[in-house]
Symmetry: C2
Subunit: 293 residues, 2 copies
Amino acid sequence: MDLKAYLGTCGKRIDRALDRFLPRATVKPRTIHEAMRYSLFAGGKRLSPALTLAAAEACGGEAETALPAACAVECIHTYSLIHDDLPCMDDDDLRRGRPTSHKVYGEGIAVLAGDALLTIAFEILAQAKETSRYKMPALIRELATASGSRWLIGGQVADLQGEGKKITGGELKYIHRCKTAALLTASIRLGAMSANVSPAKLQNLTDFGQSLGLAFQVIDDILDVTQTTEKLGKTAGKDVAATKATYPAIFGLERSREEAHRLTVAAHDALEPFGKNGATLRAFADYLLMRDY
Amino acid sequence: MDLKAYLGTCGKRIDRALDRFLPRATVKPRTIHEAMRYSLFAGGKRLSPALTLAAAEACGGEAETALPAACAVECIHTYSLIHDDLPCMDDDDLRRGRPTSHKVYGEGIAVLAGDALLTIAFEILAQAKETSRYKMPALIRELATASGSRWLIGGQVADLQGEGKKITGGELKYIHRCKTAALLTASIRLGAMSANVSPAKLQNLTDFGQSLGLAFQVIDDILDVTQTTEKLGKTAGKDVAATKATYPAIFGLERSREEAHRLTVAAHDALEPFGKNGATLRAFADYLLMRDY
């Protein structure tokens, strides 16, 4: 299983689909459609939507059928990055090695580009096929809940309010569960739903997604401490500079690395019932753990 | 037909439903749920969601069935006000006589409260009943399109970019169509869809909504010029102070009043096929025209 090749193929497929789903950059008003595309096609790894496709395949479905859900998830992911980078939030100038949306288009347009990507996510998801087990209301609820005030947005609130304060390990885990694991898990679940997955296997994949999402975030925190700005494509050490709580800051590097490993093992265990069909998802977990942290 | 009484009844009904649909203010993280409720229960007139209920009834349906759509529309409306009021947009300190969200909670939380209301709008709409003609994908598409980059958000983009510039009457009408008429029309259409309206009558209501929405905006512009801050509950003359284009600024007061009247007549004409069942919607048009402008 060559995950890099798989990610490359998925990435192109998702890019083409996003290009189809998004209004052309020439549609009036041009600025908003340019800004939406600027952030959406900024060289992101497409990890979440690739997981959507992989989950669909792991459940015996077609990647093609899962494309609307995958694109919806990527729009949500991108909107959340644009808003998180705003001066009134994390105040970041660089993202994926390029100036952030508000640096290029100004704050007003950046807020609106985020709003527009959030809105179009649901428009795109509405084009997904229903299955006998999972109808459109369930799909919409899945995405809205994970992106909503209790999870994705709730995590950003807690993150914002924790800045400059000493927060506990429990609070940090809450933030990671909300900000990263919830949407990653929904990405996987939506892919599985497009393949009409059984409720039992959906639960396995939920466990998998939560472990994988937390592992991913812990490793991101570690990388922020140990790597350079150039390699990351964003301002390294920034979280520490802002006395923002990170895993290594609270638990130390060693324990953070152990936690990342433990979570990856838990992710693997959750895939056990999938046998050979779980190979791609297993490779995702390995890929995350084998990043150079 | 006593529209004030009707609006009062609808308002209470919508408030109760919103209170049920929204997470309690005590749900973690509290700040975001408090902020969502602060703006949602700020004494808004509930004009759009009341139109949703009235349209359902005009088409022989039940207001009860239209409640999820009505609440979804109100969440979108409120989110757009929160984001429009931000310092990077219209920079407003007052809304409905109270400090705006970012004045109370800070800019970061205000952005997130808007995001959360936008997200929950789709979660709420997903609880609507499908009919034989209108399935969930059509309902989601209706709301997402009207709120998206071509309409509601597109209008705010054009508005933002027009500030301080001399814009044409055509451009101003474009902004009004996008910012006000599109969501108002979607509010009405969603109500009609909940009653399984025929395609022909849906088109009549679309015409009605567009005329009504434009009339409402023209009158709002007029009121901003002619009324005091106290009476409006927002900073009067602000649009003029910011050399923002308004109907009276471009066309003069007299022609603006004529336009408002013309649009109201067009709205009435569109209701002709509804006969007696259109009484409430007709009263809405009169109510808008009879505001003291």
